[in-house]
């Protein structure tokens, strides 16, 4: 297990380097002179040239990329905002906990509701509960989360006046954003759990368990669910990436001061270092979450664990 973990950590290095290259390239091809953007439109030509020299903006692409990586790795420095002039890392890190909190609760809600819903749907296939859940899941998958957010605000803030339409500190404020963000995930997890459980329930060993007179609850929880969990785990891991980018939209709808809203505001002000910095940080987190999910597999599935002994 330790060997497997170390191997996966080492494999992460080229991927992260690739992501850094991708983000840097996107910054590089962005139209507009970074020196002009940083100093403002009416800065004198000499100071622009001086700035270019100081920051090495005239160096070849790969020299600049090398410097970018060096600074990012050893100083955590990925440039300064054009607008506020402060460090991009700082701007993002102060807001990251909010975004993570949002995404985390959205995953928790998605799993806490999606798993039991999916299991009940599978046990009572073709029942009314099953049909209604599947129709809702169908809509949930097709629903852009920003629209779900707008509809919730319309219902609970404008019409009923129950919940505040913005903010993210109290429970009442968190309810709508978390549900908005988790809507699609909830739908996907429900569908996945249902189909995965249905497949397992039809397998031979479950029939054997039934044949020997095992109690139905033990069949579902002890025999079927652990095997059905593996594909569900994959989906949850993959959903997290979608959730982190979905958070950008959810934060915009509910005016939550997270990384997403920072990125959207920076897009509007053409503050590209902040935008690409946000992409870099979110991708980093996504990579580590994928790693954790892969390690969890080994925990859930003894077959995988055996391979890396």
């Amino acid at each position: 297990m330790l060997k497997y973990t170390i191997r996966r950590l080492i494999l992460l290095v080229p991927v992260l380097a690739g992501v850094a290259l991708l983000v840097f390239t996107l910054l590089y091809i962005t139209p507009g002179d970074p020196a002009r953007m940083a100093l403002g439109e009416d800065a004198p030509q000499e100071s622009v040239e001086q700035f270019r020299k100081n920051y090495g903006l005239d160096d070849p692409f790969f020299v600049q990329f090398g410097r970018y990586c060096y600074k990012a790795l050893f100083h955590g420095d990925i440039g300064n905002s054009y607008v506020t002039k402060s460090s991009v890392s700082e701007e993002i890190l102060t807001r990251f906990p909010t975004t993570l909190k949002l995404a985390f609760w959205a995953v928790v809600l998605g799993v806490a509701l999606g798993l039991p819903f999916g299991i009940i749907c599978a046990i009572r296939q073709y029942s009314i509960f099953d049909s209604v859940s599947m129709i809702l899941a169908l809509i949930g998958v097709a629903m852009p989360n920003f629209w779900l957010g707008v509809l919730l605000i319309l219902l609970f803030s404008v019409k009923l006046n129950w919940l505040p339409p913005s903010g993210f500190t109290t429970f009442a404020e968190m309810a709508m954003p978390v549900f908005t963000l988790s809507g699609g995930t909830l739908a996907v997890i429900t569908r996945m759990t249902r189909s995965s459980m249905l497949e397992v329930i039809k397998s031979d060993y479950v029939r054997t368990a039934r044949a020997k007179g095992q109690r139905e609850s033990i069949i579902i929880w002890r025999h079927a669910l652990p095997n059905a969990l593996i594909p569900i785990l994959t989906i949850v891991g993959m959903q997290f990436g979608g959730l982190l980018s979905g958070a950008i939209l959810t934060e915009t709808v509910f005016s939550i001061p997270g990384v997403g809203r920072l990125m959207v505001e920076s897009i509007k002000m053409r503050d590209f270092p902040v935008v690409q910095g946000g992409v870099l940080y979110i991708a980093l987190v996504f990579c580590f979450i994928n790693l954790v999910v892969d390690l969890l597999y080994a925990g859930v599935d003894p077959r995988i664990k055996a391979k890396y002994r």
Binding site: P31, V141, M143, P144, V158, G242, L249, V275, Q276
Partner: protein, 284 residues
């Protein structure tokens, strides 16, 4: 007779026609295409026509779905918006199909170092969630229809590359490929004429579902101001500007959303139907 009696295509079509949901989806999408193509004749007004004395009107006889803050007819803007969404969906998926498909086919066919290089690059791209990547690319390229298509298209390249690589790997060992090679066919000819037609089924399914995804992504991008520039209408963009009038004119926030959801559900129906119809394991 165009179709052979028991050709794969015929069988697929027969099975697809029995799938009611897929047929409903197809009807919706064909209607949308019709509306998008003939928008100039169907829409009651031009999308940019402002009726400044009649701003923020609730749905009524003259404006079936009401008017927005500039007095523009919402129904007309939805109709023109269908044009944008379908265009973005189709072009973006064509881009990812072409780029991802070529990369995947080359990787799968030649294997070795080239395969390794291409697939590691795809891994890097997969490390960035696709909507986020689309946002990053669109931010770098700047707003606009064409840039939106490129951003959304590139963001789902790895999905197609992986899919095609896997299919090519399983097909390339077959005997008819060997036969073609024995007859002296070039690599290009073998890939395009002999291998690709045998990888079609999963590609078609993935492409259909990807159109839905692309429409969703483009709506998201427009919602945060990275899509098409006003006055041209885009469903996501319409929802974005409607947020300022949530209290006074909630209907503005309803119709574009409904349009998006209906389109996505229809495309998903078709995709799922095709998957079932193309699956040889399914009963006939």
């Amino acid at each position: 007779m165009l179709l052979k009696k028991n050709s794969m295509l015929r069988l697929t079509l027969v099975r697809l026609r029995r799938n009611h949901l897929a047929m409903i989806g197809l009807a919706v999408v064909l209607t949308l295409i019709f509306v998008a193509v003939f928008a100039d004749y169907i829409a009651p007004f031009k999308y940019s026509r402002q009726h400044l004395r009649e701003t923020l009107q609730a749905p009524n006889a003259k404006y079936l779905l009401g008017t927005d803050e500039f007095g523009r007819d919402v129904l007309s803007r939805l109709i023109y918006g269908a044009r944008v969404s379908l265009q973005v969906g189709l072009v973006a998926v064509s881009i990812s199909l072409f780029v991802g498909g070529s990369l995947g086919a080359v990787a799968g066919f030649y294997g070795g170092k080239l395969d390794n290089l291409i697939m590691r690059l795809m891994d890097v791209q997969l490390a960035v969630p696709s909507t986020l990547l689309a946002i990053a690319i669109a931010a770098a390229l700047g707003p606009g229809l064409f840039n939106l298509m490129i951003a959304v298209g590139i963001s789902s390249v790895p999905r197609f590359a992986r899919l095609l690589r896997a299919s090519v790997l399983s097909v390339k060992e077959m005997e008819f490929v060997e036969a073609a090679r024995a007859m002296g066919a070039s690599d290009f000819r073998i890939i395009v004429l002999h291998i690709l037609p045998n990888c079609c089924a999963p590609l078609i399914v993935q492409a259909t579902l990807s159109v839905a995804n692309a429409i969703l992504s483009s709506a998201s991008l427009s919602f945060i101001g990275l899509g098409i520039q006003p006055p041209y209408p885009e469903w996501g963009g319409m929802l974005s500007s409607a947020r300022d009038y949530l209290r006074s004119s909630p209907y503005l926030s309803m119709f574009p959303g409904i349009a998006i959801v209906v389109t996505i559900i229809a495309l998903n129906f078709i995709g799922d139907g095709l998957r079932d119809a193309l699956d040889p394991k399914q009963k006939r």
